[in-house]
């Protein structure tokens, strides 16, 4: 028998730390995408180039607000999971999931719409525009899948392992939302 008393954990769990480091590397990826956007912008006299419409402001900003607000249910889910309240965790996750899926569907619609109006093969502006925005949507999609997976797992009951999973996913979503602000502002910058 190990003779050490095991009490409540003080430090953050390994899974949370793993997510923090993963987010750090992802955020750097977005940093380099945004850096490349401005590198190309300052090498180009007209931005966006002639024939490409300026980005519209209203819809993306509203969607951004909706997405950022999901940090609240996601954080609640994390708190509930640690408190062992499985039902409340699932409900919070579900609320977040519905809003985020709606956001993603609407954004994909806008993305396809943009593709009809100008092509990424046309100019460097269009290339970096679709790459940056597409990377952000992929980021959201990963978050949605992660949440859906945790939601399903919680039907089998809450465990310490799953609570850490929810905690990690919550951190991931806060990072997605912070990056959403950055990406959207860069995306809209020609019209701001």
């Amino acid at each position: 028998m190990s003779s050490v008393p095991y009490t409540q954990r003080v430090a953050k769990p390994n899974g949370w730390w793993g997510m923090v480091v993963f987010v750090a590397t992802e955020a750097t990826l977005f940093g380099t995408l945004i850096g490349s956007y401005y590198d190309l912008r300052f090498k180009t006299p007209r931005w966006p180039p002639t024939g490409v419409p300026d980005p519209k402001l209203a819809m993306p900003l509203i969607l951004l607000g909706v997405l950022v607000s999901t940090s609240v249910p996601v954080q609640l889910a994390s708190v509930f999971a640690r408190a062992g309240r499985t039902g409340a965790t699932q409900l919070s996750l579900l609320v977040a999931l519905v809003v985020q899926s709606g956001y993603l569907a609407m954004q994909i619609h806008l993305y396809v719409d943009d593709l009809h109006r100008f092509s990424p093969q046309q100019s460097a502006y269009a290339s970096i525009y679709f790459t940056l925005v597409g990377a952000h949507h992929a980021h959201v999609l990963v978050g949605v899948l992660l949440e859906a997976w945790l939601l399903l797992r919680l039907f089998g009951g809450n465990t310490a392992y799953r609570a850490v999973g929810v905690q990690g996913a919550a951190f991931y979503w806060h990072a997605v939302n912070a990056l959403a602000v950055a990406v959207t502002l860069v995306q809209l910058s020609p019209s701001l």
């Binding site: 095991y6 003080v10 390994n14 730390w17 480091v21 380099t32 995408l33």
Partner: protein
């Protein structure tokens, strides 16, 4: 009633045979897999080097066609950096030694650890498949645009390069993440940050560098593939692109990469020197800070690779100044090593000889390196063999010599046998002379105007004798390396038993048996200083954890015992996931994007299956 070690043996043993190796999550076995795989790649990169040197031995060489030379030269660089040094230092040395040095029973994420090995193997095979099909990467290891565009590189060559390196980065990122969490959370009780071995500090610095340096490379390569495969425009000026964007992103990765290569070597030096000087490292906290500082400054100096590209004067001066700053943490370490040897009672056995060689070669390479911070000098010598001389002193002399010394130093720990000391010392001198003879004349031939990457040259420039001596040196160097591996191979079977601690080293790996049992330590050690084996202090708690697949976790800064983690056991999912990802990259290479999407889905399903079996604690 079974004894404690019998119980631990039962809990921690893995399947025997081949299947055991395919599903292993034991950090030591994964470390050995990394070790032997990287050695194979080292051999391939070495043969490529000898081919290059044979081609260039005299003027108008005909051993390789220009196309073959380009591919061999590019794969030599790519192999040595991405398939040898990084996986050797982090994957093999880091994996095997780090948990032992911090008193843990495994890495924080054992299955992720297995995954990073299998992904690494997949990416290496992927890159070499290109070379074997005579479509290997052929644009140099930094593959500048426009040479890398479809126009000038119409085959699959640059696609093998770009996709292979994205693939490789996934493996390296997973490994770095695992090291950071392991170092933060799994240190033995009592090992606060200031009691961490310097090797662990170096691995922490390397891991953070990788986490922040690989994304720019990935972005760059994704841009390149989007441009080559789908017709996007990032680098072509006609459509508003920027050719220099490639170089900025590449070197934003590429310079931290240099320190990623050199830092583990510094960590190995700071392990070997105290053992053979028989005293603690001089200026321990300064050396730890210097290791972290080298990694940090590495992110602010990428522009010095671009002094000849027409950046503005202000930009050039900033990067020149930042580059000179690197001298400070490097010099702190050099003096700390020298004073530790000087103030101790040094015993010049083979590992310490290699570290001596490392310091000499690092000083030469560092002095030629600091010359490049002087902008006019850099502009005059850009793309000449002077640069090739400089970075081989750093990458071969300073990074590989400690690896070789480290192989001798930890050989008894890994195998339980002693290497042959006399022939080990002889192998050092052969390797050292070979290195100087190969790389030193490159300085001269570079100043005489020979440019890098040329597949041949005409007689009459005064280059011939230097080139011949480089080729002779390369074969002496190869002979030295073969002596090392022959020694280790012979000692593995014929060497006398070494016992757990043949050198009386200070760190925790020397407190357990050689080779270490699957559970590393029968009793989790309690740590009171950076050299716990020299304290022989008995802690008050006895932590044997012999009733489950467990290792302790401690608090991040102070190393207080925090919880007992249940660790996952062997798993087949990592290798299956790596296979799915390999197929995904093959499909991307051949532009079957729908099939690639399907395999991304398969990879997702494998991840789900992986997580169905949960360890009791995260």
């Amino acid at each position: 009633m079974r004894s404690r070690t019998e119980r631990l043996e039962l809990i921690w043993h893995e399947r025997p045979g081949l299947l055991g190796w395919l599903t292993t999550v034991d950090h030591k076995r994964i470390g050995l897999l990394y070790f032997f795989t990287t050695l194979v790649f080292f051999g391939a990169g070495g043969v490529e080097a000898l081919l290059i040197r044979t081609q260039l031995a005299g003027p108008n060489g005909t051993v390789l066609s220009p196309e073959a030379f380009d591919q061999v030269m590019t794969m030599h660089g790519v192999t040595m950096i991405f398939l040898f040094i990084i996986p050797m230092t982090t994957g093999a040395f880091g994996n095997y030694l780090l948990p032992l040095m911090i008193g843990a029973r495994d890495m924080a994420f054992p299955r992720l650890n297995a995954l990073s090995y299998w992904l690494f193997l997949g990416s290496g095979v992927f890159l070499y498949a290109g070379l074997l099909m005579r479509k290997g990467p052929d644009c140099g290891w930094f593959c500048y645009t426009p040479l890398n565009t479809k126009e000038y590189d119409p085959g699959l060559n640059a696609d093998f390069y770009a996709l292979g390196l994205i693939f490789n980065s996934m493996s390296t990122t997973a490994g770095a993440l695992n090291f950071i969490v392991t170092i933060f959370k799994l240190r033995a009780p009592g090992m606060s940050f200031n009691r961490m071995p310097l090797f662990v500090f170096a691995m922490l610095a390397v891991s953070f560098s990788l986490i922040f340096a690989l994304p720019p490379l990935t972005t760059d390569l994704v841009f390149l593939e989007l441009q080559r495969k789908v017709g996007f425009h990032f680098f072509d000026v006609v459509h508003g692109g920027d050719a220099l964007l490639w170089q900025h992103l590449f070197w934003l990765f590429g310079h931290p990469e240099v320190y990623i290569i050199i830092l583990p070597a510094m960590g190995i030096a700071t392990s070997i020197i105290p053992t053979f000087a028989k005293r603690k490292m001089v200026a321990f906290p300064l050396v730890a800070l210097a290791e972290l500082l080298v990694a940090f400054i590495g992110f602010g100096v990428w522009g010095h690779h671009m002094f000849a590209t027409g950046l503005s004067i202000g930009t050039l001066v900033f990067f020149a100044a930042a580059s000179m700053m690197v001298v400070i943490p490097s010099t702190i370490q050099i003096y700390a090593w020298l004073f530790t040897v000087n103030l101790g009672r040094p015993e010049f056995r083979a590992p310490l000889l290699f570290i001596g060689g490392f310091i000499a070669l690092f000083v030469i390479g560092g002095l030629s390196g600091i010359m490049f911070a002087a902008i006019p000098f850099d502009q005059a010598t850009t793309d000449t063999y002077f640069v090739v001389a400089h970075f081989h002193f750093i990458i071969f002399g300073a990074a590989v010599f400690p690896i070789l010394g480290g192989m001798y130093y930890w050989f008894p720990k890994v195998t339980g046998h002693m290497y042959h000391e006399r022939s080990a010392q002889a192998s050092f001198w052969v390797t050292f002379v070979g290195t100087l003879l190969t790389f030193f004349p490159m300085h001269i031939v570079g100043l005489l105007g020979m440019t890098r990457r040329v597949y041949t040259y005409h007689a009459g420039f005064g280059w011939d004798a230097y080139n011949l001596s480089e080729t002779i040196g390369a074969f002496i160097l190869a002979a030295g390396l073969l002596m090392i591996f022959a020694n280790l191979l012979w000692s593995r079977f014929r060497g006398p038993p070494s016992g757990p601690d043949p050198f009386f080293g200070g760190t925790l790996e020397w407190t357990t048996a050689s080779p270490p049992p699957p559970y590393n330590f029968p009793v989790i050690p309690t740590v009171t200083s950076p050299y716990p084996n020299w304290d022989r202090a008995q802690g008050e708690l006895v932590l044997d954890l012999d009733h489950g697949h467990e290792t302790p976790a401690t608090t991040v800064r102070d190393g207080h015992l925090d919880e007992i983690l249940k660790m996952p056991s062997e798993s087949g999912w990592p290798i299956v996931l790596a296979l799915a990802v390999t197929v995904l990259f093959i499909m991307l290479l051949t532009a079957h994007f729908v099939v690639a999407g399907i395999f991304a889905g398969v990879a997702g399903c494998v991840l789900v299956a992986w997580h169905v079996h949960e360890p009791a604690e995260a």
